[in-house]
Every structure is written in C-alpha cells, then in structure tokens.
Amino acid sequence: MKNHDLVIIGGGPAGLAAAVSAKDHGIDDIVIIERDKEPGGILNQCIHNGFGLHTFGEELTGPEYADRFICQTAARKITCQLNTMVMDLKAGPDFKTVTAINRKDGIFQIHAKAVILAMGCRERPRGALNIPGTRPAGIFSAGTAQRLVNMEGLMPGREVVILGSGDIGLIMARRMTLEGAHVSVVAELQPYSGGLKRNIVQCLNDFGIPLKLSHTVTDIEGTDRLCAVTIAQAGPDGRPVPGSETRYPCDTLLLSCGLIPENELTRGAGIRIDPVTQGPVVSDSLETSAEGIFACGNVLHVHDLVDYVSLEAAAAGKNAARYIRGGRSAAGGTIAIRPENGVRYTVPAFISPDGTDETVTVRFRVDRIYRNHTIAVYFDNTPVSRRKRPVMAPGEMEQVILDRKKLAASPDLHSVTIRIEAPA
C-alpha cells in the first residue's frame, strides 16, 4: 500500500493541468496515473494546429500543446506513472483507494487524500448507433483512424465516407484527403454540425467536401471489406425519408457521432452521474458527490476546446489542494443551477454558498442553433443578467460567469436558472 496526497487519474491535458495547479497551490505529493506509454492523452494524435490560442496566445499543434504542460509537470518534478491502468476507485471520507495495474508492480493500491478524475472520453461506436447492414472491415471511429494515420503511419482507407460532423470527423476528412484518400461526403443526422465552425470551413469547405445535414447512413454493404454505404435524408423524427437514398461506393466509413465521458471508475465508486453529460455531477469546486474526489476535462463533460479543459483542470487542481490542506469538503452546495429553455446542462450543477473564488464559471451547451438570442440568468425568479449572442450552436460551449458577491448578497437563494431567450 502506498500513500499519496493527490492521485490524478489520466495524464492527458486535464490531468497534467490539474497536477500543475495542485502543485502550485502547495501540494507536493502528487502522482498522475496514465495508461499510455507517454503523457499527453489524445492530444498526441491531434497533429493539426489550432490549440492554445486562449491559453498561450499562439496556435499550437496537439503534441506541442501537450508538451507545454508536460514540461510544466517535469519542472515541478511531478511523478507520472506511465503504462499503468487504474482498475478500481473507492471513495471514503479519510482516504480514497485507487487500485491500479502495470507490468512492473503488478496490482497495487494507493491511499489518496484526494483524487482528480481526468480520464477523458471515448467515441460512440457503430453498435450504439444501430445502423443496419453488414459488419465488414473498414468501419472505424474517427479517432481510431486518426491514431492509425497520425501515430502509426498507416492508412485505414482510400475511398471514405464520414458519418457525423463532430470535430474529429471534420479533422479526419481533411487528414485523409491530405494523405491521398478521397472523402466523398460527410453526413450529419442533426440539422446542424456537432463540430466547430472553423473546422467546417478549414476541413470541409476548403477541400470541397460536401456536408449533408439531416442525413444518415441507412445501410452498410460488404461481407469482407466495406464496399458501399447508403445515405438517406433524415426526417424530423430522425427516421430516413423513403426515396431519398443515395448509395456511395467506398471502402471506409469513419464515425464521428459523439463522445462519451469515460466514467466506469466513477460509477464504480458510486459517484452520481449526470444523465445528460454522462459525467459526474459536480459543485462549483468541481467536487463530485464523493467527498475529496474532483473531476475535470472531458470526463466531466465533453469540451470543444482544450484551452477550456486546461482552465477547468487548473480549478480542479486548486480546489483539490485546498481540500487536502483543509481536509474539509466543499461539497453539499445548496444552490442548484437549473438549465432551462435550450440549455442542455450546466457544469457545475450546483454552487456551494461558502466558496471563496470571486467568480463561478458555469459552462453549458445549447440544444440547437440560436441566432441573436440571449443568455438570461435568474436568481430564483429574479433576472440578474442578460447577454446577447449572435450565434449559439450545440458544437460550441457557452459560459456564464457569476459574481460571488452577488450570490452572497442573496442569502436565501435556492436556484440559479440559465435560459436561452428570444430577442424581445
């Protein structure tokens, strides 16, 4: 049995930034547990640029962005235990028990005063989409294809169709094209893209790749290797419109149909999960329903930009440090944040009135595209702020920053409501 003040599960962008922050807030005994052979997580396969504009004021590639944080952890002599898989997490008031496995130590346990969950997310597989057809080779999640191309130097296909317009799918449309493949179409079930606007412009429009909104794959053909998919228009109920089918001969289908926070350990620890985000329910200190266990990054909710992951992770690191030093939970917040009218969820889900930060950042996503709508905030039934946004889209995160002084000025406050409202 080993003892550590802080165990961070996952050495991707969230875990690294959380470690740096915890160290800077006075915690020395930190260990990051990473299952891969190097830290950096999924950034290592994101060799395109566009990372770090907010954090560093310059455009970096994924590995470069990761490297900044890897260097910061190294400079702080933070231990990152690589090639190690956490198998189990148990919550507890005095210590949390982390069970992990690797080649060198076998199975071992760590008692930690606090734990930060930073396991990231995974892609939704074909099976979860219920696309009928055969099950040939040539169907990949976009991220798996990205790994094969960018890290292994292998080519998963030549004639490509992409289902889903999540960011990885868009990025891979460009990547596959640059590698000599032909991407004939990107189909998206929703009437809007799930990805960033800039990716649609830079990865599809610039390469003449059509994006078919409200379209989905309705059949997959090929007994050995994929030979064709059928794409049809999706009606308002999401069902294919008869007669709208087009058959696309192809050898590869990439899926970019959503990301799912990877919360097996979280569930195993009995931590409450939000059914919308599929991440843990957290307070404004990013503490989960289990005392001393914090969460940040894509394990908490899927982010659009890694810069926000880093910010959130820094907050989690700071709060975990405070918990370890004070040994007191900030959980049990009493002010609920209610997502309403177009707001799908909020992170955090509630606010602890005795928090010490000057502001509370509430991040959320909207349920469809809104033009010239307003983000309205209410303290109970009293409107407190309105902010007009020219465009809001489900592919991009929105945020509201609440002033702690204003919260403190309303001692009987039960809930904060965030709504999308039409222009007056």
Binding site: G106, P125, G127, A128, L154, M155, G157, D219
Partner: protein, 511 residues
Amino acid sequence: MILPPLFSFRISCEKENHTMYDIAIIGAGVTGCAIARELSRYDASVCVLERGEDVCCGTSKANSAILHAGFDAAPGSLKAEFNVRGNAMMDALCEELDIPLKRNGALVVCTKEEDRPALAQLLDRGVTNGVSGLRIIERNELIRMEPSVSDDAVCALYAPGSGIVCPFEMTIAFAENACANGVSFFRDTEVLSLHRTTEAGGGYEIRTVRTGTETEHIFTAKIIVNAAGVYADRFNNQVSSRHLHITARRGEYFLLDKTAGSHVSRTIFQLPSAMGKGVLVTPTVHGNLLIGPTAGDVEDKEAVNTTQSGLSALTASCARSVKDIPLRQVITSFAGLRAHEEGGDFIVGEASDAPGFINAAGIESPGLTSAPAIAERVAAIAKDLLSLREKADFIPVRRGILRPQTLTMEERSALIRRHPEYGAIVCRCEMISEGEILDAIRRPLGARSLDAVKRRTRAGMGRCQSGFCSPRTMELLAREVPMAVTEITKSGAGSAILTGVPPKPQKDGKE
C-alpha cells in the same frame, strides 16, 4: 482484393501435404468441432475443412448462446433427443474443456390468460422429452424472481436446467482439444465439390480452394461428415439423391452493455411460434444483456446483415416479455443464420444412398446445446463403419486462456511478476491484458485476425467495440505471428483493416 496467403498452413496441426484422411469433416462450427473432438478419441486420421479463417465463423458465432432445457422440440424428434442429452452432458463437458457455463434457468412468459393452454402444452412436451424440474409459476412468484418482467405477465413456465454458455469458447474448446488429440484443421479451405471415388473400398474425393485465392487442393477421405451449416444441403445433394433443402433463417440481435446485464437474471422467452422460439431477453455468461432473435427466411446464405425492419421489430418485440429494457445501452447489433431444413428436424446419420457420407445437417436451435450429443451419435456411426478403436493416449482435458480476472489480487500480482505481459491492459472495456492476447495468438489453432482475438479473449467486445484496443492488438498480431501490419484482417481474406501506408514524401518535398 487478393491477399497474400494467411498462416493456417504454418500451424503444426495443419499439414499441407497430407491429403488422405480416414474422416473429413466439412465445417468448423460448433457441430463440426464437437464431432472432431469426439472422433479424436479414436485411432483414425481426421481433418476438418473450414472455409473461414478461423473456427466458429458462421452460425456458431451468432446465436442466442443458450443451453436449452429441451421443452420446445417435438417429442420423438432428433432435436428433442439431442437437446436433452446434450444439456445433460454439458456440466461435465464444460468442466473438462474449461468452457464458461451458468445454469441461470429460463422462464417462458405467458402474457395472456388465453395462452395458458399453450404454456401447459409446453410443460407437457418438456415432461415427455424428459426435461426435469419444469413447473408453471404464477405471477406473484414470477415477479419475485424477475422484477423486470412485463406488467402483462400472467404466469410462466420455469425451466431451472436452462443455461447460458459462451458459444465461441465452446467451439474453440472443442477444436483445440481435437487438435491436441491429432485432428488436422485446415482453415481458409473451402470445399467446392464432392464425389465418390470409383476405387475399391469407396471413399470420397473433396475438391477445395484456398479462400481468397484460386489455389485448389484435393483431399480424399473414407468418411465425410457434413457439418456445413447453411450449406449442408449443397454437399448432401452432390452425393445423395435424397435431397435436403436448407433455408437460411436470419435472426437479428442486440447486445447491450454490461451495465444492463442484470436487467434480468434468467433467460426470458416468449411463447414459441412456428418460426422459432421468439425473441428472448437473457444475460450472457459474460454479463451483457442479449436480445433476439428475429426470424426471417433469406435467399442469400451470406446475408448476415442486420436490417432496419429487423432492428425495429426487435425493439418492439422485446418489450412484450420484459419492461424498461435500457435500449440506449446497445453496444452492437448482429445477425446470424439458422440452417433450417424443410423437414424441421436435425438430419443426423449416414445418407442411405451414400455410404460413408454422414450428415449433421439442419442444425438450427437447439444446435449449440445438442452439439455434444450429435457428436456422440456421429462418432458412433463412424466407429462402426471403420471399426475404430479408442486411443489410449486421448487427452480429455483442455485449458482455456488464463483469465487473470478470475484470480485474487495476490495471485494476479504473482502472475505478473512471472509474466509481466499480464500487467499490461490492452482492452480497457473488458480489461483484457496483453498476456491473454498473446496466449490467444500462440496457442494451437491460434488467432490470426482481430475477430479471432476477440472471440478468444473478448478484447474488442466491450462498450467501445475495439476503438481503443484494435491498433494495439494489431501491433501484437504483427509482432507475434509475425506478419506485416497491412496483412492483418478483421476476419480473414478480403477483410484487411488497412489499405496500406500513406505515400512517403520525397526529400525534395514532392510525393
């Protein structure tokens, strides 16, 4: 796409030059492999010819994975006889061959008062067939046993002897044990045609082609066992004038995440119909929830595709017996083909006008349960025909892949000290280690494709459906077999995972 030859000929028990056998079995599904294992008790030379790149590539890999109790088949039928016998053999067999089996019991749920007579009839049939422990339970008891059963449930037939097994593990276990006892397996070997030789002593000539190539090869055998699944009629009809007619009856399934695996604890059937046992809802022996099958006859015997209508029908049908099924937890859907012979029963025995041609045909449900009993019968026929004697050195026991998850923490750590590869997790969803994957590749009849690794280890069978582990498993296959990574397939010839490597830029920057 023509791929370079795969590797089955390099396996020690797959001899390229030995083309004469006493007995040739066509098909390495659960029936063919069970027969191979049973025949390997005797002093005969036996081969198995399989067109797939692995054993367990057809109906055996896509079915309900149920050890049926035996109340469903018509009394007096071969189905009834072999089902009950096979069920009774299963505990000892699974022990010997290290096959996961759980006797979780089954319930046939009756949702309408007017269907009670049909349920009673099922009970009578079961009793006639020799199934023990059957009884009808009323709603109160039913709800206590299975709280998620439909609100419309009136009563149910309870069959405590029903169970769940892993059909991959069962087929592979039979094959590995047969292999250990000297049976030669030729994978990637498709039988094109059969004919009786004119030589004295009879026998058959078997023309084969290497799957994915045009390389032909002739085998001869004194006895042929026809365990060719949906194609068994083709081979029978080449040598016998008593024609069989096998229809592929497609069944579509949903497999749900392990988080849904305890939604029911027993196998929940609906009342059977003419087309089969209806849609069942069952936990699997590995802890997932399985829903299916639909039943629809298809002309194409390769039509293992799922359909929009089939999946919709499943969604509607499963709610009739079980409520609140978390269908959002579906991790994959798949389809299998039942080999339905038009007579409705198994065809097991020597064809009357083709001496030495033994059918194990029309093996649809309850084929998995019946496999050991069918094997016993076929082996007895072959034994008589060739006057075979039992070998003294038959090895009855087979050990499966070591499963570290079944060990205590101390045992597992000790294992990792001896073999560090058991400390490296490759498949995060099912927590499968590198050690298990290496075992799957290195053992006799080892895995050569991603699907073959999956069926042996469960790596890639979890909720991410191999998105995470497939590049890692490919690395291990490439290193261990060894083979070029571009040669690795999902499931044999034509199913290469990769289409190559990207063009390398020249030094001057041009491609």
